[in-house]
Symmetry: C2
Subunit: 293 residues, 2 copies
């Protein structure tokens, strides 16, 4: 039986007691020297597997960055499929961070690739970009709802240039990202789980924590996927407004600061990733549950 994505996510968060999402951005240029001497595909394959195994107890979810697999050509997509299987075998939920967006039957083809029942790469959720409008999001939302999967729509991204268009003041006085947030809240009503959250979530960068209170007001039923902690300068301690009274409602993503933690901590890279993930898991839990009633 289909279970709503937000309900599945809440269970995973409670079982693991973790709101941490480890971002898998496998970039051979950042790998430790001991992984050298083989093909890039072999190196990415082993690096990803070891990272997944090392963080599986600390993270509820992992987020694969599609670009680093696409960069390797067709064998990279094979590796992505294998990493997805590994993540699921380890009991992790898996998001594909692919920021896909297109219209009509093309959006349906993307959904068929990642969200449909017989998808060749059956991720639990997919990130989606909103520039093309509401009708471009609907095929993703419908596909996800049907299979108990989810999407996260980009609302306010973590990069310095996110203001260029997302912050543009509209004629009504509000920035564009609030318009997008309102549309996401409306679309998300289509599939609300028992936990009160929707299978349609929102991406909001940790680098703009002051916006979280307003975004939460506009999107009460959206799970926030919050990237930008660590290497991009965002701090977990600023993210309290994203969480509800039960310590749910948001997932915090750390990628480079976990998977390349060996560069600061030294030692084995998988061990360093485990330690960084364990530290972050606790830090996020303290923030998320500080206001718990």
């Amino acid at each position: 039986m289909r279970i709503n994505f937000a309900d599945r996510l809440k269970e995973a968060v409670e079982v693991k007691d973790s709101r941490l999402v480890v971002g898998i951005d496998p970039d051979p240029e950042l790998f430790p020297p001991e992984t050298e001497g083989r093909t890039a595909v072999e190196r990415v394959d082993e690096f990803g597997r070891r990272i997944l195994e090392s963080v599986a107890g600390e993270a509820s979810t992992v987020k694969f960055q599609s670009a680093f697999y696409e960069k390797l050509g067709p064998p990279g997509i094979e590796t992505l499929a294998e990493h997805l299987k590994t993540a699921h075998r380890l009991g992790l939920l898996a998001i594909l961070d692919a920021k896909r967006n297109d219209i009509g039957n093309t959006a349906r083809a993307y959904a068929a690739a990642y969200l449909n029942r017989n998808a060749p790469l059956p991720f639990d959720a997919l990130t989606v970009s909103p520039y093309l409008g509401v009708d471009s999001l609907e095929p993703f939302i419908e596909a996800a709802a049907e299979t108990g999967r989810g999407i996260f729509v980009l609302v306010k991204t973590s990069n310095p240039g996110s203001g260029d268009f997302q912050d543009v003041e509209t004629a009504g006085g509000e920035p564009l990202y609030l318009r997008v947030a309102k549309a996401v809240a409306e679309l998300g009503k289509f599939d609300i789980g028992k936990c009160g959250y929707s299978s349609v979530g929102a991406v909001s960068g940790a680098t703009y924590p002051k916006l979280l209170t307003e975004l939460r007001r506009i999107m009460p039923a959206q799970i926030f996927l919050i990237p930008g902690v660590g290497a991009q300068g965002g701090r977990a301690t600023d993210l309290a407004p994203a969480f509800d009274d039960e310590g749910f409602g948001a997932l915090v993503v750390a990628a480079r600061s976990v998977i390349y933690a060996y560069r600061d901590r030294g030692g084995d890279y998988a061990e360093a990733a485990y330690e960084a993930a364990a530290y972050l898991r606790k830090e996020i839990n303290e923030v998320a549950t500080a206001g718990r009633k």
Copy 2:
């Protein structure tokens, strides 16, 4: 030696005397019955090759829709790589319509996949979505300029819902898509070819032809990639404002109305695609060169 993408495109348009881009959206559900009885990958492989061969004399460029290949999983990406080789062998320029978008090192990884010198899938150009801001576009632009490749930034898309965010009135009174257009014009100055056009082009839907005059004023050096002719309701005869006095400056995309033309015209699907492409090539040429001095 690197040749600017716009110059390469202009040469291809002149050699073929064609501003037509055939969109390759291989959807097995729309294939003719004679292609049945094999795997979806085999069917897409053969369909794509036959279409490419049949339209190679009529189109300067083909545009592959990534979603329909991703839908087939890893073997689909192998097929995409083979179709790309076939297109190049036939003397066609090849655009990947993937609407990629991401930040910093992730955007660079996408560029490495499709635009860099040693890209595993070396397309001549890539479509890119602007919601993440100028800093998210720069890595694509730099990579493209270095290798004589190009990008097309989504400015105003062809779908009915494109107005939801693209048409939002900003505080200055202008719609958002004009803000994006201005940013694209500015970014495009980075790499202007001898022909006066930039390797940074813009997507503007044929379904909104009245906007072309204003978009051309704001983006004098952008090649317009114009989808939406045919199945989506756009008409080639409305597109004159996109072309310059030499009949250059824009490419017109037709996908379903060409590759599935057998459904209206009957007969062999590749032959029907050839006839539809030949008809459209002439129709577009008449529009493009009507104002030629």
